[in-house]
Amino acid sequence: MSIEIEGISKSFGTFAALKNVSLKVPSGELVALLGPSGSGKTSLLRIIAGLESPDSGRILFDGEEATKRQVQERQVGFVFQHYALFRHMTVFDNIAFGLTVKPKKSRPGKAEIRDKVHNLLKLIQLENLADRYPAQLSGGQRQRVALARALAVEPQVLLLDEPFGALDAKVRLELRRWLRRLHDEIHVTSVFVTHDQEEALEVADRIVVMNEGRIEQEGTPSEVYDRPATPFVYDFLGSVNLFHGRVHEGTAQMAGLDLSSPENASAQHAPAVGYVRSHDIAIERDGNGSGAIKAEVRYLLSVGPLVRVDLVLSGSDRTIEAELPRDEADRLQLQVGEQVYARPRKMRVFVEDYQI
């Protein structure tokens, strides 16, 4: 089922959580709502579920108006951040709940419910824990039970609020790969909220980046990562260095370099900000040719397979950060205090009034 969101606004008191947000989620896709806390992503998810009602705007499911539909009638599966498992019910009863509250007419028989729950338990690989209570499960197991419970009613849409937020790093990694595989199997339209860019990039078919109640950009993970539409998106996805300078008719001047910036061809001596990802900065021993900035190594830090290098630009006290693969760093044999050249391989320039 496809979801269309048309001009949704929502305020809590004086705080505007969503400002005229519109979005289309095509049927069968797995979409991530990505943003910092307070960006409105959870509010949007709750409005889709019917747990919150918008101040204005419409929600359409498969082109049909659903704004006024009660939460019970929306046929959404919602996985809560803290799972919201019923703590007085066993795993089995939790998963069966949605089936047992159906009106008598459409309620499946006992045997049918049992089969269905057992199939779901198999799907989440917890077949032998059917009689446990939520308190006796680990975080990752609870998360999977919450998912199975939501899936039991065969929802048209699956909504997940920070599904991996409360788990530790390793379980989180496993579970999100599992979710991706699960989605490939069952293909239910899914929307999940996260503040973790890596999670969004790895799991989602499409990413919607949100900030301060607005959508900054939507697109496939590679579109969003490689061609950020706004400085905010650049900043939010991956670590990034900022350069201040000017742009004039497609050429930007930043930190003493002349860089081509074709997307700003019409700019006239405009103040501008350049963004360079840390891993897009190359470090060279000798500054042959143009396009490199003289800098001093301030600090070196090995982080797993990467080496982080803090550089101070010569003639200023500005610091930039570069990330090199371990073998590259080993080859350069960098020392703290020595002079090197930093070459931005890719820079994205935004005219200043875009600045947030």
Binding site: F12, G13, G50, S53
Partner: protein
């Protein structure tokens, strides 16, 4: 937790409506009757009724004994809470449960029991009276009954605060060179103070309004050991509705004032809570 009124859970309007309806019917309208009745008195009559010598004497007895009882409860209540939270000893669970006895034991039962224990031939009275300590039928007896009914308030407000206190705070204090008494005086006591004062105020407020457990042990001598609630009943029995109402209004205003103090104290104690 709440996210505004547009909450999807059903039933808010009828639930709130019924709450306000039942509250008004049972509590607010009957209480307002007291003020309307008082308003029919002239100011002069009202003042005369609430400042008659016998009434003033009853205030002295009631508030004086309540204050004394609250002080005793403040001290022993903290001690009991401390012992229950900090130390292990046999029968602790039972004693912890028993602390609530004054909540559960009907006041009339407490009243006749205390009166009989402290009377001339009672279990304690027979040892105290020969030494010149007369408890039953004196203001001292009133205070004893008030200690009984007020004890759980202090224990039960201080206890959770002590339980929540982080052991690390004390460890930090002792690492910084404080001895045990200094740690208690300078670190623990200030943290417990809002709870102690709240418990003190609750115990005082309860004692001021108490009737059942006191009248049996008080002796009820006008001017000496007559408490204000009893005076209200005496006036009612004499069909002096105006007098009873006027005194009741004073009591009610005192209750409201105490309630306000307690609310403020609780707000203060929440400042320390995480």
């Amino acid at each position: 937790m709440g996210r505004g009124k547009n909450n999807v859970l059903p039933g808010f309007t009828p639930a709130l409506g019924y709450t306000i309806f039942y509250l008004s019917l049972i509590v607010l309208i009957p209480l307002s009757a007291l003020f309307f009745k008082t308003a029919t008195l002239t100011w002069g009559d009202f003042v005369a009724a609430v400042t008659a010598p016998r009434v003033l004497a009853s205030y002295r007895v009631t508030f004086g004994a309540s204050l004394a009882a609250a002080v005793i409860n403040g001290f022993f209540g903290v001690l009991v809470a401390w012992v229950l939270v900090r130390y292990r000893f046999p029968g602790k669970k039972l004693i912890d449960a028993l602390v609530d006895l004054p909540f559960a034991l009907p006041t009339a039962v407490a009243g006749i029991t205390l009166a009989s224990i402290y009377s001339q031939n009672g279990w304690l009275g027979r040892y105290l009276e020969p030494r010149g300590i007369k408890v039953a039928f004196t203001p001292l007896g009133i205070a004893v009954a008030m200690v009984f009914i007020g004890l759980p308030f202090v224990v039960r407000t201080v206890q959770p605060v002590l339980e929540e206190l982080d052991q690390e705070i004390e460890e930090a204090a002792s690492c910084l060179g404080a001895n045990r008494w200094q740690t208690f005086r300078r670190v623990l006591l200030p943290t417990m103070l809002p709870a102690i004062l709240t418990g003190f105020a609750l115990s005082f407020a309860r004692a001021v309004g108490e009737y059942g457990s006191i009248i049996f042990i008080a002796g009820n001598m006008p001017m000496v050991s007559e408490i204000t609630p009893l005076l209200i009943i005496t006036k009612l029995e004499q069909y002096d509705y105006a007098g009873a109402t006027a005194i009741a209004t004073v009591m009610l205003v005192v209750s409201f004032f105490m309630l306000l103090c307690i609310n403020l104290l609780q707000k203060w104690s929440r400042c320390f809570a995480e």
